[in-house]
């Protein structure tokens, strides 16, 4: 009874999470302290203070730098001497902002843990992975969570998920220095080992390809968006703490690091992941695949108008706009008697959020009566009036 106030307060925190969890059957990766943390809060819910304290101490043993766990321990001890009215009561006076940070962290961790995606659902964005892309990363900024997916013969399979922190001012980066995390389709561009970095970046860093073609088109700038670790003495950090990078605990960074392929592994950052059942996911990807195949056919047909209908009026290549592009193709086609195009190893990643585009890459094997080449191609497809159209095309 002594700790009723505290319990009630936490109940508010936890209730949100419970409401969500009822929908989906949770699956636990146990890849972090969340299972322990959730158990502690469950015990507190049930007024089982002694086991709550024991489990908190077990959590501290497993994660000695987990300041959130130390705070909960403080609360549980203080509760033995007086009724508590607030989370982190013993520290609110002296360090209110820090307590608020830890509270945010607790909520973020618990919410993500209790609303895990169902097993047979996949992030909408992973439409198609190339055979050699072994893993994909999808980040949910609202949940402060990074999800790791494995490419299981073309189907993304959930592997693990981790607590992450994002930019101090949230997501949707547009400007250099805006302390925001970009939202979009990116990939890992480099691997920087610990030895080359200061302790600030912890176990290592993986720069990603912000700004991408679309971002540039939208006039977005800035650079140096990385996935990286934390200083060696840090485990706890508030959900919004970086200058735009996606930050993982060092052990978590190490866990994903071995799965990341420079130049290949997609990193898709969303505000709020949309999950699709495998059936719906199949339907979506097949629809786009067939459009891409139509485009390939129409190119082979040498009918420039049929080919051009796959391009948006707002199309831009590196050098040409829509009109210039079509004219160029018309001229080229006029000099040919046949074209044969194959698109191998297609990847398709959908942009999260409002801007509905899909980044498509493939190996293009182009043969014609007077010219042949093989190249890696990258296209941005958008939906215009219900139809998929290409808005950007270039070498990948």
């Amino acid at each position: 009874m002594m700790r009723r106030h505290y319990r009630r307060l936490l109940a508010a925190t936890v209730a949100i999470a419970f409401a969500v969890s009822a929908v989906a059957q949770p699956r636990y990766s146990d890849s972090g302290p969340e299972p322990l943390l959730a158990r502690v809060f469950d015990q507190i819910e049930q007024n089982r203070w002694e086991p709550a304290l024991q489990q908190t101490e077990a959590m501290i043993k497993a994660y000695p730098n987990f300041r959130l766990a130390h705070l909960i321990r403080g609360d549980l001890l203080l509760a033995r001497t007086k009724p508590l009215t607030a989370f982190g009561e013993g520290g609110v006076q002296t360090a209110g902002a820090k307590v608020a940070d830890l509270r945010d962290e607790a909520i973020a961790r618990l919410r993500a843990y209790r609303s895990k995606p169902p097993t047979d659902f996949v992030p909408r964005y992973l439409m198609q992975m190339q055979a050699n892309q072994k893993y994909a990363i999808v980040v949910d900024t609202q949940k402060s969570r990074l999800y790791l997916y494995q490419n299981d013969k073309g189907t993304p399979r959930f592997v693990a998920d981790y607590y992450i922190t994002q930019g101090k001012l949230g997501a949707d980066k547009t400007r250099e220095g805006d302390q925001k995390t970009p939202v979009g389709v990116y990939h890992v561009t480099a691997s920087l080992p610990r030895q080359k970095l200061t302790d600030f970046y912890g176990a290592g860093a993986f720069p990603i390809s912000y700004p991408n073609q679309w971002d540039r088109r939208m006039g977005r700038n800035g650079h140096g968006i990385w996935l990286h670790g934390t200083p060696s003495d840090t485990f706890s950090r508030p959900p919004k703490a970086s200058d735009g990078c996606v930050v993982l605990a060092n052990q978590d960074l190490n866990a994903i690091a071995e799965n990341l392929q420079v130049g290949l592994t997609p990193v898709i950052i969303s505000n709020n992941i949309e999950w699709l059942s495998l059936d719906d996911w199949q339907t979506e990807r097949k629809a786009l695949l067939s459009v891409i195949d139509e485009w390939r056919h129409d190119w082979e047909s040498l009918d420039t108008d049929r080919y051009a209908r796959h391009y948006s009026r707002k199309f831009e290549s590196d050098r040409l706009d829509f009109k210039g592009w079509v004219e160029h193709k018309r001229t080229v086609n006029a000099g040919k008697t046949w074209i044969k195009v194959s698109t191998d190893n297609i990847s398709m990643f959908r942009n999260p959020g409002r801007e509905d585009y899909v980044v498509v890459t493939f190996e293009q094997n182009y043969k014609s009566s007077n010219l042949s080449n093989v190249m890696k191609k990258e296209q941005y497809w958008i939906k215009e009036d219900g139809r998929w159209k290409i808005i950007h095309e270039g070498a990948g």
């Binding site: 203070w49 300041r67 766990a69 705070l71 203080l78 013993g90 520290g91 830890l102």
Partner: protein, 356 residues
């Protein structure tokens, strides 16, 4: 500390205390044991019948009434049980168990305020419990603040809120519970360092008995047999105190000087026989460490300034000062405190602390 778990070794379900510490007269013990057996076998109605019969003879008897309260609780008649336990607390306010059981029943009824009051009363049945309870609370808050320090990276050097571990002063309490013996409570060792200095003799007349009371740690120092009359004026007049203070300062300076000239023998002679070694190590070990340290090659200089002497009675003093230490490899300036005692006319160091 959940309510249902508060209760002690011989608890049944519910966390009710089922044993009463009072000793029933031997003749009744059998009857009560039989009733208890019935209760344990789940034959509550019979147990109730028997206990009522028993109480018809001895309506005031505590054991029987307590047992009746238990039976009623078991029979899920909490309100009747409350009446029984309530009356018991009125008739035997010194017994903690009825209060405790009242608290359990109140808690089951979600009457937490009443439950809390009942538990507080239970604790108050013995002053030592209250003190122990308070001390335990102190320990918990200390542990909590350590945890907060780690969580929030606060400056843990701020120990202004040093916990006072109140000691159980009256070793033999006045309110001995019937039929119980009170174990002699040994104050914890921690408390030694925190004994507040007794008032200076000049300030308080007849301070002897009081000083003895605040220092129960000192082994077997019997309180003087003949009590000093309260009216007796201060034993030691002000002037000798001033002299003593000068003597203490001199002793400290001599100690520093011996250290400076690396005169280990004189240095060690400055320490009392019962000197508390800093880490509780054996005196010989400490001495050999000091000898080795001081004997290292190179000059040492130890200076003291800002010396402040506080007399704790005529034969004890605490000295605060700045110690300026310089050796070949180290130069420090620290505040230090020495506790000196007068033994055989000499002021000797009994405790040495860094900081205030």
């Amino acid at each position: 500390m959940r309510l249902s778990r508060i209760l002690s070794a011989c608890s049944l379900t519910l966390g009710l205390a089922v044993c009463l510490a009072t000793v029933a007269p031997a003749a009744h013990a059998d009857a009560l044991q039989d009733i208890n057996k019935l209760l344990k076998q789940g034959q509550q109605a019979q147990a109730l019948e028997q206990v009522d019969k028993y109480l018809a003879d001895k309506p005031k008897e505590a054991q029987g009434r307590f047992l009746k309260g238990l039976i009623l609780t078991e029979m899920n008649k909490p309100n009747e049980a409350i009446v029984v336990f309530q009356k018991l607390t009125e008739d035997y306010p010194e017994l903690p168990e009825p209060y405790n059981n009242l608290a359990v029943i109140y808690a089951q009824q979600k009457q937490y305020e009443k439950a809390k009051q009942a538990l507080e009363m239970a604790i108050r049945t013995h002053p030592s419990y209250a003190t122990a309870h308070e001390n335990l609370g102190d320990i918990y808050s200390r542990m909590a603040s350590q945890a907060y320090d780690k969580a929030l990276q606060l400056d843990s050097s701020n120990t202004s809120a040093q916990t006072k571990l109140s000691m159980i002063r009256n070793l033999i309490g006045n309110t001995v519970r019937p039929g119980t013996t009170v174990a002699v409570v040994k104050p914890v060792a921690v408390a030694t360092a925190e004994v507040k200095p007794a008032p200076t003799p000049t300030a308080t007349p007849a301070s002897t008995p009081k000083a003895a009371e605040t220092k129960p740690i000192e082994p077997a120092k019997p309180v003087e047999a003949k009590p000093t009359p309260a009216v007796e004026p201060a034993k030691t007049p002000a002037k000798p105190a001033a002299n003593a203070s000068a003597e203490v300062t001199k002793a400290v300076e001599a100690w520093a000087a011996a250290w400076s000239r690396k005169d280990v023998k004189a240095y060690l002679a400055g320490y009392a026989k019962d000197f508390k070694t800093p880490n509780g190590e054996a005196r010989t070990k400490w001495e050999s460490e000091r000898t080795a340290r001081i004997g290292k090659p190179g000059a040492i200089s130890v200076g003291v300034d800002n010396v402040k002497v506080t007399m704790d009675g005529a034969d004890k003093a605490t000295v605060h000062f700045r110690q300026h230490y310089k050796s070949a490899s180290l130069k420090t300036s620290t505040s230090k405190a020495l506790v000196l005692v007068r033994q055989d006319g000499k002021w000797l160091i009994q405790q040495e602390r860094i900081g205030n």
